[in-house]
Symmetry: C2
Subunit: 578 residues, 2 copies
């Protein structure tokens, strides 16, 4: 995993493949690597859909090893949604397979002359970039079936649906899971549109005959991995809550504390929450022969994913995540779990970010396009996006775009990206992350819900501004580093509470690479990544004015606590002043 595969899609005479050594990017992986390449190689003022933008795909530092939880893959580019730097990551199989094929990153460069879709096939024998017009506008599920037919079942795929081909700013990049379904998405920031602008419809990876990556110190690696796994298994969140109910365990919890954004962020509790909770969802999955405890990639020991069957017991979609259930559920006033699962399937199939789409539908409901709670109408709106109707072109470009199209004010976005499933007025720490993350509103960028609500890694009152800046800062730094390892962010629950588990993860890195990294070094890596990202955004024209929540969070009290977001602008400006 010491080389970068570069494919120039804009080369004269067709795509040109080359390999470059990691060079100056040595020691970086995942988000660290995507952000370094984008920050260094992409002109910050370029158009996100132009040939000057680059689309970077990078497995994490430990992906492709047998280390637990190492199946995250990052994609990076200048975002068509935010106009800033973007990293989005997903689980599924591609990280492991790409890493075993020896690539630290794939970089798609340039811009093709026409809209012919290409498939990229990579196996032990090399790289093929093949034009294939039969792929045009295929939804992800059909596309993957076709790839299985062509390349067999031992593949992992990275692909875009019609939304990415239409270059919509809510378009995601799909990664296949262990069942070879396109269910794990690098969702946020319109990364699918950038992949689409490069003319690449799907990347098919086959690591047959490629060995598992070997550590420099195999014994030490094995030992560290064992301790690490033990740590995850003994923690209540990673060992019990997530396996049992998946991420949707949060619905009841966040609703209970009054931070569950309902009806486009108008109240903090949803009367229908229990009907779409993780507990309900898991029960439904068991009843129908699905599976509530399942890993999204080989090597996962948390198993927060699952399989969701329809009423007839047939596969409908993977277990919808908390954010998805919220976005299409409470935020739209919808309490019908099957309808939400259907929307999850449609989003995956068209290649859409479920958070952005849910937020968009709620905005559309505010604009009068549908009634809050009308699940059928919500499904129809997503179908418009998939078809690329004019309405679909509006909705597929996200919540802020939709608000502007219909002349309404209320767009819950930061840097153009929709807020996820925690109201910042009731969970102040996550509000600081939403406002200040270089990624735009992103809960994963510094998950202060842990300390604010779950009381993991500390206890900071969610309803008060005190302590939130420091909390978000430290989480954002640690997250940037974790996002570089290829490890699932959910390990952080155990890391925050159990120093020995944190140390075990560092030991895995050290054993694998022959490093002597300390926890401080690890944190310093996070700081460097954030600095690169912030630097890119500054060159793209971002200022402190972009590090703000929409004004209504400061003026409109949220029931039931009836409080506004209290963190002052001057405090927000201190997040990166470390």
């Amino acid at each position: 995993m010491s080389k970068i595969l570069r494919i120039n899609m804009g080369a004269e005479g067709g795509p040109q493949v080359s390999e470059t050594p990691l060079g100056e990017y040595e020691g970086l992986g995942g988000r660290g690597l995507t952000s370094a390449i984008v920050s260094k190689e992409v002109p910050a003022d370029c158009h996100p859909l132009s040939g000057e933008n680059k689309f970077v795909i990078a497995p994490g530092l430990l992906s492709g090893t047998y280390g637990a939880m190492t199946g995250r893959i990052s994609v990076g580019c200048k975002s068509p949604l935010t106009g800033g730097i973007k990293e989005a990551n997903a689980g599924g199989q591609p990280a492991q397979v790409l890493a075993r094929l020896g690539y630290a990153a794939i970089v798609l460069e340039g811009k093709p002359k026409d809209d012919t879709p290409y498939k990229v096939y990579i196996n032990k024998d090399g790289v093929k970039v093949v034009p294939d017009n039969t792929l045009k506008m295929l939804p992800n599920y059909d596309l993957i079936e076709k790839m299985k037919g062509e390349y067999g079942e031992k593949i992992a795929c990275i692909s875009i649906g019609p939304a990415g081909e239409m270059k919509m700013a809510a378009a995601s990049v799909a990664c296949t899971d262990m069942e070879l379904r396109p269910t794990r998405h690098c969702g946020r920031g319109g990364v699918g549109a950038v992949m689409g602008s490069k003319g690449v419809k799907v990347i098919v990876l086959d690591d047959t005959d490629m060995p598992v990556r070997q550590a420099k110190d195999p014994e030490r690696f094995k030992e560290a991995n064992k301790k690490f796994v033990q740590g995850l298994q003994q923690h209540a969140v990673t060992g019990q809550a997530l396996p049992a109910y998946g991420t949707n365990v949060l619905t009841n919890i966040i609703n209970e504390v009054g931070g569950y954004p309902t009806y486009n962020f108008k109240q903090g509790q949803f009367e229908g929450a229990s009907k779409i909770s993780g507990e309900t969802e898991a029960e439904l999955e068991k009843q129908r022969g699905g599976n509530p405890t399942h890993g999204c990639h080989r090597g996962c020991v948390i198993k927060c994913s699952g399989i969701y069957h329809d009423k007839d017991g047939n596969y409908l979609t993977k277990q919808p995540e908390y954010e998805t259930v919220w976005a299409h559920g409470g935020n739209c006033g919808i309490d019908d779990m099957d309808a939400i699962a259907k929307m999850d399937f449609l989003d995956d199939n068209y290649g859409l970010d479920t958070i952005e789409m849910g937020a968009t539908i709620a905005v559309a409901m505010d604009a009068g396009l549908a009634r809050f709670g009308d699940a059928e109408a919500a499904i129809r709106l997503i179908e418009e996006v998939g078809k690329g109707t004019h309405l679909g072109r509006i909705l597929g470009n996200g919540a802020a775009f939709t608000a502007r199209a219909f002349g309404i004010e209320r767009a819950p976005v930061v840097k153009g990206q929709a807020l996820p499933a925690y109201d910042p007025r009731a969970v102040h720490g996550i509000g600081v992350t939403y406002a200040t993350s270089p990624m735009g509103a992103d809960h994963t960028a510094g998950y202060a819900v842990a300390q604010n609500v779950l009381k993991v890694g500390g206890d900071v009152d969610p309803l008060k501004p005190e302590g939130q800046i420091e909390l978000s800062r430290n989480l954002q730094i640690a997250t940037a580093a974790i996002d570089s390892t290829g490890m699932c962010l959910f390990i952080a629950f155990a890391l925050l509470d159990q120093p020995e588990t944190f140390q075990a993860m560092i030991d895995m890195l050290n054993a694998f690479y022959g490093w002597n990294m300390t926890v401080d070094d690890f944190i310093e890596m996070g700081r460097k990544i954030l600095k690169m990202e912030r630097d890119f955004n500054a060159r793209a024209g971002f200022t402190s004015k972009d590090d703000r929540l929409p004004r209504f969070f400061k003026t409109e009290p949220l029931p039931p606590h009836n409080i506004t977001f209290q963190v002052k602008d001057e405090e927000l400006d201190q997040v990166f002043n470390w």
Copy 2:
């Protein structure tokens, strides 16, 4: 004209009318006054459609006098198109009438609870704000006919069409002309959407029994005005070219120098230019019983406007301006003068900025929605906007929005606002103005075409970067000051070449107000206005990165000169460093 009329459209129990003295705004008019009020009273980070934004209407310092050319009215607000401060001005009758009613400005504040349209009626007896649901979605021409029926023919109106009611970012504010037709538009920046967000459909002004405004020194004012008029009449542009052919005299000139943006800024000359030139247009108007030499307001001595009849000799629209003819003509590859006139009528009727709409249609053509040159398709696209279909919602929000909706790169905009009818690669001076004006791409903000092409007020090579910064800077400063007087900007041609005409205008101000203003003081007023505007934009988050042309102007050579825009970013950053 010493008081401000404030109407709080968001007050409990319905609109609340109050009057405040000019106070700290004393000595300001037109753009100076709108920008001062917006900069001081509107939170720079508010949503443009929120109750925190204000919609300011201000006649110029000399409006309502018998001074020549004093019929310009400014509107100002935070722009929904650019996100920055916006002033747009128009001719027609409202400036004179509002000034004679004694108001230096009308400020619409707050936000109504529902979407009931209001009409505001102002005469010598006072102000009435009346809800009237029969006005809903009326096009401007029908609306004005209705107002004539209700209030008689001695009125002047300021109104919005359906586009403003739908809060589209290309919506204009219409002002009636001497024939009481809604043909003179404060076009740019989506000002119509902000008026729409205040719930005000039309302001009806009747100055019956109100006297002409009297100068402090009537004799001196009379003398200065006489000299001023003589100066305008003796200059070739204001005395001959504009009266004969209107602004569209520019088509042949700009096409000749290779700076006529054609096919969405792909080439600098249009093969069909002669078919839509001012000469052709004037001839057609004469043949059909229209009128090529006509003033848009009482007191105009240039008479660059006109009346355009259709093939059957019936009124179709006012004489389409150069920018309109270009936007719907060459920029869309259309050389059919009647089709262009039809589009001008539709834009006026729906209440749309002709420049933004033409640029938008060209972008839509690039996106494949219509063929370049297809006039019928272009007309249909504008009709979609008027109807408010989903496609219309896209197009009505402007060129950049449309480009994003359809995932294409090529959007000729600065600060979100479409470039007017001079390609910056062939007319470098205007490129500097487009890039740096606080208003977004706006030719009127510093009309360097004068020196670059017309050789009025100097001679600066249009194809080279040298001298353009200073040129644009001085023009932007002078323009901000002229835009405050209520005088039509076209006086600048005579002012630039004839110091005695410039002095005569200053003398008019001094005689009227009893001031001792020098030319330097006048220029200092311009600087102060720009400073306020730049300050607002900085608080709204604008940086030097926003003072840039789209990248393709720097990378894609423009035929026939085959040159790119050569002014360096560092130089652009010096425009306001005076």
